[in-house]
Each structure stands twice: as C-alpha cells, then as structure tokens.
Symmetry: C2
Subunit: 160 residues, 2 copies
DNA sequence: TATTGTTATACTCTATAACTATA
DNA sequence: TATAGTTATAGAGTATAACAATA
C-alpha cells in the first residue's frame, strides 16, 4: 500500500474534487452576491424565459419551497420578475429582467475563467474527453441534462 | 439554443453528477449504518492504522470537532478504538478493530458494485481515462490524493 | 505560545407538513 | 382529487469559540 487507497475509488475522487470545485465556484460568484443555484436559475431563464417555478425546480433539482426564496431574492434585486403564467393561473412565469441578463453574462464569464484555471493542465482534446465522459455517465445514471419538454426519447444527443 | 446551456459547463456537470453519486453512495452504505465519511475513516485506517484524529481530519477534509463525533460512534460500535499515542500524549491513536476491518471490506465491496453500475456504460479504457483525468485535475488543484507523510514531491504518481 | 481533543453554542440548510388558489 | 406557490416548524448539519491537557 504505497498510495492512498481511498482515492482510487472514482466515487471518492469525484466527491473530493467536486467539493473543491463548488467551493471555488461559490467564491468566484460571491462578489456578484450570487449563489451557484441563483446563477443556475438565471442561466436557465437565459435559455428559455418565462418558465414556472416548478419547471425551474425540476431543472435545478431543488425543492419548490427553496425555489420561493431564490426567486424572492432575485426579484427584490430586480434581476427577475414574476408575471402571470399564460395558461395556468396557479403558476408564476419567471422572467429575466435586463439587469439579470447582464449579471448572468458577467457570472458566466467568471465561471469560464474559473474553468480555464481548473482545466488548465489539460489540452483541448483532454477537456473534450473529460466532459464527454462525464456527460455519458450522467446520462446513463438517468440525469436530465437536457430538460426541455418534448424530448422524451431518442433526442439528437449532441456530442455523444 | 437547442440543448441546455447550463450543463455545458464542466463545473455544473460535475456538480450535478457528484450530487447524484454521493446520494447513491449514501444509500448503498445505509444498510451497514455507515456514513460515507465513516467509511472513509475506516478505509484510511486500513491503509495505516493508529493515526491521530488530527491526521485523519486532514486526510478526510473535515474539522476536528466533527472527527470527535465520527470516532465516538465507531468506538461505541466497537469498530475502532482510541489508544494512547506513542510520542504525543495529547493525541489519540485511532486503531481499527477486527469488526471494523470486516465492515470496511463489506462496504468496499458494495462501493465496487455501485461503481460498476455507475460506470457500466464505459469500457475499461474509458474508465481508466476518466479516473486519470479526474486525478490530474485534482492534483493540479492542489488536492492531496496521497496524504502519506514523506511523499512531499516527486511521488511515483501511479497512472499519470 | 501552539496544538490535540473536547464541548457548547449559534447559525445555516434542509425536510416535512400544512395552507391557498387554482386545475 | 391533484398541483403551483407559499409559509412555518423542526431537524440535521456546520462553523465558531472556548476550555483542559500537553507540546
């Protein structure tokens, strides 16, 4: 036993790396007063504005009570706005405001820089390989990486 | 924008996958009444018995107050034992008891099975590549994967 | 003076349940 | 009856500080 057996386990390796990465991610976003999940929320809206809180919950994998607080804070800061949902009067349609779009772009740039640092030791092909392998494992585990409606089965599966 | 932009980010992809993986890991260990960190603790002792709580803290990346509780429970279950530390009377030397060694082996087998499931969609080379890439990124980030003393620099670096 | 282990306290996060208004 | 959003409450988990024994 010359080297640490614990981190021969992919599960442990993944756990330790992710812990560090999420910590860095949180630190990078802190000056923008954004939590990672709030960044995720803004990013989802960038892709498809006006989703209900329930839809956002499923994509972000948080409970709906938590979503209330996330949207509350973003709405107070006028980054996001609750409007009437067309077609379901129980639901709110969450819309991105200009300041929210701008902040998301800013955050995304910081994230890109962080990822450049984290993956700086790998070349382009290795980065592509790593992402592709993580995506495959995720999909095999049944995680929705493309939570858009209407893509139930046989989706185009970009880059696999 | 046809596919979800959030999970093009390695940081988000890693986070979501790890969340799922750690959840599965926790479920798999539950019948043994072991938390992932307790498994980690037992595994560290398997590699090198009699470490101080402080040493275990650094390897597992938990605070020393948390370690007290982890060892407490394992000691109550007679999986582990606190003995006098030779050379430092402030410290405790944590030793693995036979039942602890047996339980660790059992847990490790369950973990191996989980990993086979999780990585079942990849072939041998792909698994090796994934682990190797994760290890490189971890090392580049300064994470100690081989926390053994005396291996400060120029370690053999298995599989890199 | 610094460090190991320990305990107590406060704070954050999360999970559960209940409620309302709609469907 | 079931669902979207909200609120309140309790529990788990975490971080901070303080303490005794030893270095």
């Amino acid at each position: 036993m010359t080297s640490q057996p614990l981190f021969h386990h992919p599960v442990c390796l993944l756990g330790r790396l992710d812990f560090h990465v999420q910590e860095q991610f949180t630190k990078v976003l802190a000056p923008l007063h954004l939590q990672p999940r709030q960044f995720g929320l803004l990013s989802l809206l960038t892709g498809s504005d006006g989703q209900s809180q329930q839809q956002l919950c499923e994509s972000l994998d948080v409970h709906r009570n938590v979503m209330v607080g996330l949207v509350d804070e973003l709405e107070q800061r006028e980054l996001v706005e609750r409007r009437r949902h067309p077609g379901d009067r129980r639901a709110h349609a969450v819309h991105l405001l200009p300041a929210g779009r701008a902040l998301q772009a800013q955050a995304e740039q910081l994230l890109d820089e962080l990822e450049s640092e984290l993956l700086g030791g790998l070349d382009r092909d290795e980065v592509r390989t790593l992402i592709s392998l993580l995506q495959r494992v995720s999909r095999d585990a049944g995680l929705d990486l493309i939570p858009h409606p209407g893509l139930t089965a046989g989706a185009p599966a970009a880059g696999r």
